[in-house]
Point group: D2
Chain length 365, copies 4
């Protein structure tokens, strides 16, 4: 139970290390009949690809996905879809040094404590490359959701103290610039800030926001598998995420009921809420409004400044990390948040199909 | 899969509605040999009891727990522990009105959308009383953890904009006042603020902080079942929680790597971190420092002001909620956060026992 | 993970010991909208009640079920249904002797090995009374299945070497006699045989057969959650079951392909099989024919003859068991097999709803 | 939840179809520190390889395993182990015919009913090649078990009506002949019988027996996750298995308590049972004796005689199957039963580590 499987009905199992032979995922419980090919997956993977930005690792990997099972004549068959990406650009020698010590902010120490030793090459299993499997699975979940009319969209909301303005929102902008911000002005400011960080041999954090449009009301289970609880787990399980919020999130704790409650309204038989402080969920169940969540990422822990730490021999030492490291995790993490959100939403959408006897009877009639 | 079961090895299943006959929990996977009696549970339940504070519902329920199974001669036997609390003070008539409409900020609308109808009495399954089962289970988890030397402690960190000062920290204060704040001055300020809210027929939100002391390094699984991911789910699954964070949390997104990284240090063979921005977890695995998490609660949605909403007949209406409602959820939720944290930590502690072959061999030798 | 939870979507969690305060079950994932009251459960429980036959324990317990949650205005709400039965006729003194030694054929020794000690009163958790929770849950599953047109029927197929004749099949007979056999002549023979066993202070075994009519084709998952695999687990998890088979079962291993294959046939658009050696399942998925399974029960291990065994002090001793013990488990186990079959079938029926994208799209349209 | 994942702690997820690009398995929850290389896996896979016997498909596949993750410097790291075998000898053209009709005894019809269409090439996911992933995972489980002193051994017990004699038992014989029988005389008789079957264009069934030596007492959980229940599921989930039994199995249903009970005996502090009718399990928990189980396989459904069936167009037709088909499944299934037994035993061994508080305290001290 090393926890590499996620989901109840749409169930994904990821595997692989940064510098092993390959990384991948098995998606079990994908409904039969979805048209799917490698391009559907590749265009998601390309969004997290290293080398795509000056703020991203200059490791020139193709990260080319191969689908090994579960598709026949262009459609999913209902059986497990196994996908893998070969590691082609491993330079393990870069990492031989870190075998001997524990990098601050990394999982080196905790892996050694848990397992007695670790695959130190590039962070092993705790590398950002672990998310390849999540993104490949998320591509499938997103495609199914879009067939159901549900869209999941993530983008960078802030980098350091620089936030997007919602007036300037442009998803095209977010998908084409180097920050993932859907606001050109904010993005340019953020680029400047990131360059300053790099000059100071430092790194920056930021926030990814994700919205889900057109999710039907009624999705999510009332107690432990609340929609927001499962999303909380999904998002917090992404490396470097330190906080998760839904709707107004932390701000709700400072609000009053009178301002935080969303009034219901009906117009021509269509129920809406006049505000959406709740972020689309009430009592753990979707309310038909847009779902809005945020993931807070810490700064990249690999910085080029001198740092104090200890080595495996039990000595206090000073280190200076080398190699290829992004000054910020956020732009490449956008698609990971989107993927984990899609997987979670789809899983709960499928679970919800059994909530009412009348609908089950209709299904089997 | 209505999601009323939580945990993998230490597994809890809660049941019950606000105004049904009883509420309870079945704890499966509790190790054999723990001394346990009803008092161990009751003292936890008393911390969430209504009527314990002027800011808590004046419903005078004893909430007396009964243990029905799993104990023999004062010790747990390893078989399921079933516990229940009878509902004795239901005044369903208070709630007959809300049968017809959807209260803003509540789960009335979403339950109807999901299930076609709902038990509207006191919120039914989405009532705060649902947490009785969580707290009873948490009492057991906490007791086991304390036998292992691990302590879990929650308290109110803020109410509205009033935050505790860490210099004045007193757990005794937190356990005896009406806010759950471990800082007398802050608590008095918060009391004043809550009275103002009540006068305005309004409600307030706040933050619960929880720390875990003495957790061994190595607890948590590397990918989806990260310590912080599972805690994120556990905490987000508590009604009214809108955000979750670990360590510096949201602030980490505004920090730089140079300030956010925690330097390791060794002294006389004892490894420590010189700071604890990470909140005790690296790569999803405990690092031996104190674990620190925060749960952000929205204001009580039941307020006595007039509100706009819709009824089941599909009409826009104005309502004014009656009955017994706390102006704030936070003080009574402190023990719920503590309980969910304890259950999660214990579950991962047990899971971790199988991480290394050498330790398994030693166990079975 | 003491294994007291079963099922994926329709999930049951049982608890309780033979001589504790009560036994019960929590059913989570029951669809909303099913009319359900205590009588629906009681009539199933009455079928396993002690004292109902001269071959059943003369413990005069009412075994009266109480539903504590999950029902509102006579219908299931979709939230957990908690049910309990109080133990009222415990005579623990009968069992004080067995505290000190290990009864052959019982779980006394293995519980002590696993947990270090045990609740020895009446077998504790390994008592036949543990099945009360299964039967209560099975009553609900059966009712849902019957709403979907699916019926589950179990009866005694053999006792010792006495088998029913299918020509004389009468379910009324099975439900009214003391053997559970649907064949009057066989039942009378079996009664005579059981009386002989009792005279010899001995006990007997037998076989329960269970058929499922009108199950749609397509139920069951292709690999580990095959319909027959899940049924195998469900049935083997009933105490005293030593073998499980589906369709021709063990006989298939002696057959040839030419005789064992079932030819498909179509008539007026209706697909049938000309024989049903497979017992209604092909490749782990229902084929639309009747599902037929058998559970093989060992003889009651509690016999009144002298037996050799050891005591907790580590000495070889001779014992003679006292108290109330059925000479055969089978008649009271019929409803348990039926219950576990119903729970398993329903769970897979619900899981199957997500197998095809076109049907999911139709569901959410 | 298409059911391709098995196990709770030692968790395996298989994927792949007969004629897809590859088949494989992800093993999650494997403890760190096990020495493991591809040869450890290959020698298990070679035991199920086609072409190894005149009674096995003459498909000359190497079935060469590749380990893609989870190993570092020759040892398991505690992270998922992904293994794959490329399909190299697919002759899909052989199967184009079966696209249009439903072979008796196969899953063609049920897959179409469940998913709307199927990958018909070689049975797709319901092919015997699906077991490649199980066997690769079983190789790892077996290796860990052997480090703990536990050995799992399967062999052919019977083919048609020809049974082995236990006096002549030779595991070397079983591992070197073409039937998997550990009895030379029986094996020769069975070979003759199988040749007769082939001449008649027919096929045969048989029984695989599996024993587990040196399993500690106390393994298995008391209710739904009984050792025999989990083994029942594991074994019944193997294609073509129609019955499962433990110990005396079906014979126990015809026995009396006096003959079926196993007397305990102690000698020099060592507890034994004077007989082992129970097959090593009491109340679902291992009793320290040898575990003995049997899997009953039906005859290969692909026979070369003419058969009646229907086609996808809804017509009654007569077919004659072509291609490469074993006249018996049993010899190649021996290692599959062994693998599933090993995975199940190991999983419950790991789960058992959390059963007692005193042992947990000792572990974490």
């Amino acid at each position: 139970m090393a926890g590499s499987t996620y989901g109840n009905i749409f169930k994904i199992t990821t595997w692989g290390e940064s510098h092993g032979d390959a990384l991948g995922v098995v998606v079990d419980g994908c409904p039969a009949g979805l048209e799917l090919n490698e391009f559907d997956i590749q265009r998601f993977l390309d969004r997290r690809k290293p080398g795509s930005s000056q703020f991203a690792t200059q490791r020139s990997e193709a990260d080319r996905v191969e689908i090994l099972s579960g598709i026949f004549e262009g459609k999913t068959t209902g059986t497990p879809i196994s996908m893998l990406v070969r590691n082609t650009s491993q330079r393990s020698s870069d990492y031989s040094e870190i075998a001997s010590y524990y990098r601050p902010g990394h999982a080196d120490y905790t892996f050694d404590q848990k397992y007695g030793f670790r695959d130190y090459r590039g962070g092993g299993r705790s590398s950002g490359r672990e998310t390849i499997g999540r993104v490949a699975a998320g591509a499938i979940a997103s495609k199914i959701l879009s067939e159901l009319g549900v869209t999941v969209t993530a983008y960078t909301e802030s980098i350091g103290d620089i936030h997007i303005s919602r007036e300037n929102f442009s998803l095209d902008e977010a998908r084409s610039n180097q920050t993932g911000m859907p606001d050109k002005a904010a993005s340019e400011k953020a680029e400047k800030y990131l360059k300053e960080c790099m000059q100071k041999l430092d790194s920056a954090g930021g926030v990814v926001e994700c919205t889900v449009h057109n999710l039907p009301a009624g999705i999510g289970e009332p107690v432990f598998d609340k929609l927001d609880a499962n999303l909380g787990k999904a998002v917090m399980s992404i490396g470097a995420v330190k906080a998760f919020e839904i709707g107004d999130g932390t701000a709700a704790a400072r609000a009053n009921g009178s301002s935080n409650n969303d009034a219901f309204h009906i117009d021509n038989g269509i129920v809406t809420k006049m505000t959406n402080h709740s972020g689309g969920v009430l009592g753990g169940i979707s309310d038909g409004s847009d779902l809005i969540l945020r993931a807070y990422f810490k700064p990249t822990p690999s910085i080029f400044q001198e740092q104090q730490t200890i080595n495996r021999a039990g000595e206090n030492i000073t280190i200076q990390i080398k190699g290829r490291h992004d000054p910020i995790i956020v732009p490449r993490a956008v698609v990971v948040v989107e993927a984990m959100t899609a997987v979670t939403i789809l899983d709960l959408l499928l679970q919800n199909m059994t909530s009412r006897l009348d609908k089950i009877k209709k299904f089997y009639r």
